[in-house]
Structures are given as structure tokens and as C-alpha cells.
Symmetry: C2
Subunit: 429 residues, 2 copies
Amino acid sequence: MTKKKIFNIAIVGLGNIGTYLYNFLKKNKNLINNKNNNTFKIKYISAKNKRKKRKISFRKNLWIDNYMSLTKMKDVDIIIELIGGSDGPAKKLVFSALKNKKHVITANKALISKYGDKLSKIAEKNKVNLEYEAAVCGGVPIIRMIKESLIGNKVNKIFGIFNGTSNYILSSMEKNKISFNDTLSVAKKLGYAESNPKSDIDGDDVSSKVKILSSLCFGSFVNSNIHVEGIRSIDNEDIINASKLGFKIKLLGFSEIINNKLYQRVHPTFVKKSSYIASVDGVLNAVIVDGSPIGKNIIQGEGAGATATTSALVADISSILRGNIKKPFGISHSKRKKITSGKIDNLYFSSYVRINVKDKYGVLSDITRIFSTNKVSIKRVLQNPYKKYSSILIITHSCKDADIQKTLKTLAKKSYIIQKPKIIRIENG
Amino acid sequence: MTKKKIFNIAIVGLGNIGTYLYNFLKKNKNLINNKNNNTFKIKYISAKNKRKKRKISFRKNLWIDNYMSLTKMKDVDIIIELIGGSDGPAKKLVFSALKNKKHVITANKALISKYGDKLSKIAEKNKVNLEYEAAVCGGVPIIRMIKESLIGNKVNKIFGIFNGTSNYILSSMEKNKISFNDTLSVAKKLGYAESNPKSDIDGDDVSSKVKILSSLCFGSFVNSNIHVEGIRSIDNEDIINASKLGFKIKLLGFSEIINNKLYQRVHPTFVKKSSYIASVDGVLNAVIVDGSPIGKNIIQGEGAGATATTSALVADISSILRGNIKKPFGISHSKRKKITSGKIDNLYFSSYVRINVKDKYGVLSDITRIFSTNKVSIKRVLQNPYKKYSSILIITHSCKDADIQKTLKTLAKKSYIIQKPKIIRIENG
């Protein structure tokens, strides 16, 4: 037998995930080591504040005050970065670690989507791993699936529910018929939303994940051209309208290649109630990959949380212990390509448009004229009368997104409009 | 850079899958080689009949008449076995290949579920890979997911739809309201069922997959104690009854650990219409894994066919090119354990029971008495009158399977019974 090597691990960042991982690794050391060719040992841990109360116990000599010193220590092989944030200490740590030939594991989607190209180049040059399964949909092992299980496939499209917080909010609004803000408060209390939920509800978190997945699926550098809309503007009226029309509203991320151009987008989407994606409720995440020759694959699981994330981190550790793939984005940096991105304006959607107007003569006639002038063909109209206004709902036939945006701009200037017109795109199939 | 090694591949078996794989590898050589540390070359091909018409072209010196000679040839590194069958040539080839230190890739579930333990021992001893992603639900990369992505998890239960043919038949019977036999004929015409569909419709194919998945999930040797029922006895009346009661019928495979015992079973199952698994129709496969810490994971895709299977085979080839995991069942042969199996008799289910009886006085009273005597509590009764008989449907409360089997045995002897009473278990959640 070849002699087993012991990989020394340093964990930096001991929040919710870091402490769970530490305890899990201690408890399940044999389980993990039995499954890999080499073994690991937790050598060091580090965090901002040593005296903070944490549910962990450790020998004194495990603690390192200056986390940056870990990147130069000879008895460190793997650094697990659980600090978070695209810049600041996380960035400093990961760049320095890779430069000093340490393997790096991170759960940091902001960092990978911003600096992934630079980082992967260094990792590859220094023949160390940069692993980030935990950065995209924690309990949905989509990174390894694309890099290994679907390695022979040409991916055409990848999309899905990539954010548990926003999915929880939209599902709850539908189920409990309460407002966005009230739902958000509940989500915070239950720990499903952070105190500052901006990144989750404005689509930025999904945006990071879409960018990472695009690079993996299409063998391209990270492309930051992406159309992003969050869920702040969705209200109960939209949810009820969707339901009446046979739909649910989901915040989806999409990435696809059409005519050799990359289209990345994140926006609330009408999905048919009977579709698979509509059934994914609460904090769950789901990814749908359409590739050739494999066809359509679905993978669903818990998107975040200490338990699901730890499962991903352990998969990353194990991959390093086995000396598996050392190309962070599946192919060599030198083989990755720049990919031209297309604008959402040029895509075609059937859309839901909601226009709140003063209730007076001629309005509907003017609105339908504006649609027609802009080449947007109407499939269905519904008018809901409310006390102080009327709400006009229009489902369009498939039309160019630019045309519908023009339509909305024109409408917005009209005196009878009492609220910015709203569009929610419809996903077919 | 370390020098890349070229792995010479021999493909044995050139049916539907073998020819597709051959053409795919030729066309996508660069794509695959760019993603791995080492490269491959198709060195030899072999099949029973050289003169058979196939959609492939190859240089003369690629063909080998005596496939067994490949196992001793120095310029062969990987043998891909696509012959099929648990014994005969496939068995001979794979045993000999591993003994002669060749990596082996196979899509042969019958072989792995029967000889997997012996084969994996030889592979491990000789430090070669034995890969079989394609053997279990072709386009659903569940093998690699368990071995790598969920490596840190303790799996509690795994179940799902593991056979496309039977799922197609049950879905079609429901959708088109036609009989089992007529549906089977259509399935054969469409290529969804083989000319001899026994293994697919009698549950043996699912049984092989369940046994393999159990070994992987629970770190145990292959255990052949499994309860198997197929779908031959399901008729349109059952499908209609299920629908009326809010269910669909699916052929499911299950493996779980309860009180340290392994329970493996394959049987038609009532699943709630609103459940995820009920939505998986046609030839699709789906696997649900419940593990700790990851929680519940779902993975869905095409279960079979040349395209999906090729995706799996290429993942296996790539894993060998990267020198990844060499333990066919995830852990060392020496660490695998024997696991005691439990009997389905001791499990508790709520069940659907259908009893076709002569329409006369006192029958229902006698039937309910027999249920009661055997400690089977009735939740719901429905009686459908037909021209020549009555069909009594009973949904039981959760009860011991042995008790319900006893009930059915007693019933079967009664003079008013005109057809063997039928039980279909109900899956909750």
C-alpha cells in the first residue's frame, strides 16, 4: 500500500457553519478517512474574536490569532475560508493561501463570482485545489455534478431556484396570504432571512450563483453581464393574480446559450402550477440542467444552513484527500473562453403585465393601443376593480422583451397611471 | 507539468449503447481530454458478430475477435463491458480484466448486484477502478453522488423510481386508460420495453439497483434479501381506484435501516397525487436520498437509453483518467460490513386492499370480521358494483404487514372470493 498522507486543515471563520463543521469533523473523522485515500486532521482554527461564546471545545494550541499567518505555515495543507464577503479578510486570505500553495475550500459565492477567474489561475499554476461546492446551493451538490457526473455533456441551459430566503418568502406569501414585509419579518425570526436580507431578496445572491454556474457549464470566464430583478416589488395582488391564472411566482436564475451568446438573468417568474419547479416550496433549492447527451436533469435539496453546507464542505475536503480534479472550473484556465453576452432585450417572453390606473373612460382603449403600437400582442386581459383604482392585467403573447419594456415606459408617463407598471415574465415548460 | 498519460480503451459489446458511446468518444475526444489530467484513446473494439450492420466506421486494426484476449493485452488500460447479463461472457470478461489489473467500466447492474463484492475486492487489491455509474438509472448520476457528493453523510433511507419501462407503463395506463397488455405492446413498439420485458415489469431490474444502492449507502456487502413484487397484476380498475382516492400507482424501490436492520423492497406503491414522486411520469427515473447532515435530496433524469447511459460512461472514464476513487463501493472491502436484514412482514403500512367478491348477503360483514380478527384496522371502505361481481376496496390504518398478509390468506380461501385479493402499500410523505 502507498502510505497515507495526513492533510492538516485550518478552519477560518467560526460562525454558525464554522462551528458546526468543526464539531462534525471531530465526530466523523473515521467515517471520512475510511472513504478516502488520505486522511485529515484539524490542525488550526481562527476567527475574529476568540472570546465569543461558541458551542465548541478545543485544545489551546489549535487557536491562531492571526489568520493570515496560516497561509505561510508549513503544517497547513488545506484552508477552509468561512468568513464571507467578496472583499476584505476573505479575499486576502484566499489569495494568499493559494499563492502559498495551500488547498482552499470556501463557501463564499460573492468571492468566487467576483475573483474566481484570478483565483483559479493561481490554484492551477500552483497545483492546489480551489473547491467551492458549498458556495452554490449548499445541500444541492450541483458543482461536483457538473464537473464530474456531467463531464461529457454540452450544457444548453441551467436554471432554477437558487435562493432559499426568497423562495421561503414567496411560498409563505402565497400560503398565508400575508404581505411581503410581514413575511420577511417572520422569515427573520425563523432564521430564514438575515437581519440585512438585501442580497437575498434583491437577487444578488442568485446572480453570484448564476455567474458561477455559467462558467462551469459553458467553459467560459465569469461574465458579469446579468439582468437582475429581486422580489421586493411582488405584492399579494400579484400572488393572487398568478394563482387565478394557474401560476405561481418564483425567483429564478437562468443561464443559457442562444446563437453563441450567453444570456444570464435573475427575475421573478410565473411558472405553471403543474410544473415541477412550482412544487419546490419553502427554503428548498432546485437546479435543472439541460445537456447533451444526458437530457434534462433535476437536483433538489436544502439550499443553505449549517447542516447542508457542512455536507458540501466535507465533499470538498474528501475530493482534496483523494487528489481529485485540480481545475476549479472544470477545464484549464488556458482553455476557458471569453463568451459574448446577449441582452435580455432580445429574448422573447410571454409576460404578465400589471397596470394600476385611475378608473375612467378610454383608459383600456389607450393602453391596448400602446401595446399594439409597440408590437406587443395581447393574449388575455383581466380588469380587477378596487375601491380607489382599477388593476388591469395583461398576459402577452410571446414578444421581444425590448418591445414590452418600451410599452411599459410609454405607459408610465400617462396621467391615468397611478403606480409604475409591472412586468413578470412567464417561463414555459 | 507532469506528463499526461494516455489510457487505452477497449469497448466490448457494440449494441445500441456501445455504438453510441464509440461515436460519441470519437467526436468529443478533445472536450473530455481537456477536462481531465490524463487522456484516452479508443484502442480496440469487440463484439460477438463482426459482420453485423452497425452505424460505426473504424480502422481494421481496432477490431479484436477474441474479446477475452483484451484482458491480457499490455496496450489496454480500460475495458468497457457492454455485453450485459450477470453471468456468461460479461462475468468472464470483467473478472479476468480486474485480475489482470485493467480498469473496468460496466453498465451491467445484474453483474454488479450479483458479483459486486467479489469484483470490488479484486479491483481494490489490484488498485484498479471498477466503475458502474451507468448500471443504476443511467442519466441520474446517483452512484457518484453517493460516493463523492454525499461522502460525509449517514444515509437513512433511499428510494425512488428506478425503472423507466414500468414507470412508462403505469403512467400510460393512467393517462390513456388502456390495459396493461395493450400498454406493454405500445411500449415495445416505442422501444421503451424490450421484447422480453420480464426483468423490467417483474421488479428484478429495480431489485438489482436497490441492492447496489444499499451497499453504497450503508457501507455494507450486497445483501440479496429483498422483497420483490412487479406490476403485472396492476389493472385499470386499480389505477382508477387510486385516482379516485387521490393517489397514483408507482413501482418503487426502497432501502432503509430501521433499528440496525436493512429493509429492501420493491413493490407497486400508492403515492399521493400531490407528492413529488407522483409527478415523475413516463420513462423518467428519480431517486430520493435522506441523509444526515444533508437532509433530503432529490435527483431526477432519464433512466436509460444510449444517450443518458453514455453520459454516465463518460463520467466513469473521466474518473479513471483523473485517478479518482478506487474503492468501488466507497469504502475499503475490509471496512464493509455484513448487515442483518429485516423482513417486510415486520414493517407497518397503510394499505389499499382490493377484494373481488360474489355479490351476496353477509360478505362485507364477514370480510370486516376477518380484518378485525387479524388486528387490521380499517380506515375507509368503498364498494364498486360491477355486472358480475362486486369490488370491495379497503384502505387500512397503518398495520403490521404480516397481519395484512394473514388477512389476505384467510380471505383467499373464502367461497365468495372470485379473484386473489390484492394489496398495494401506501407510501406516506
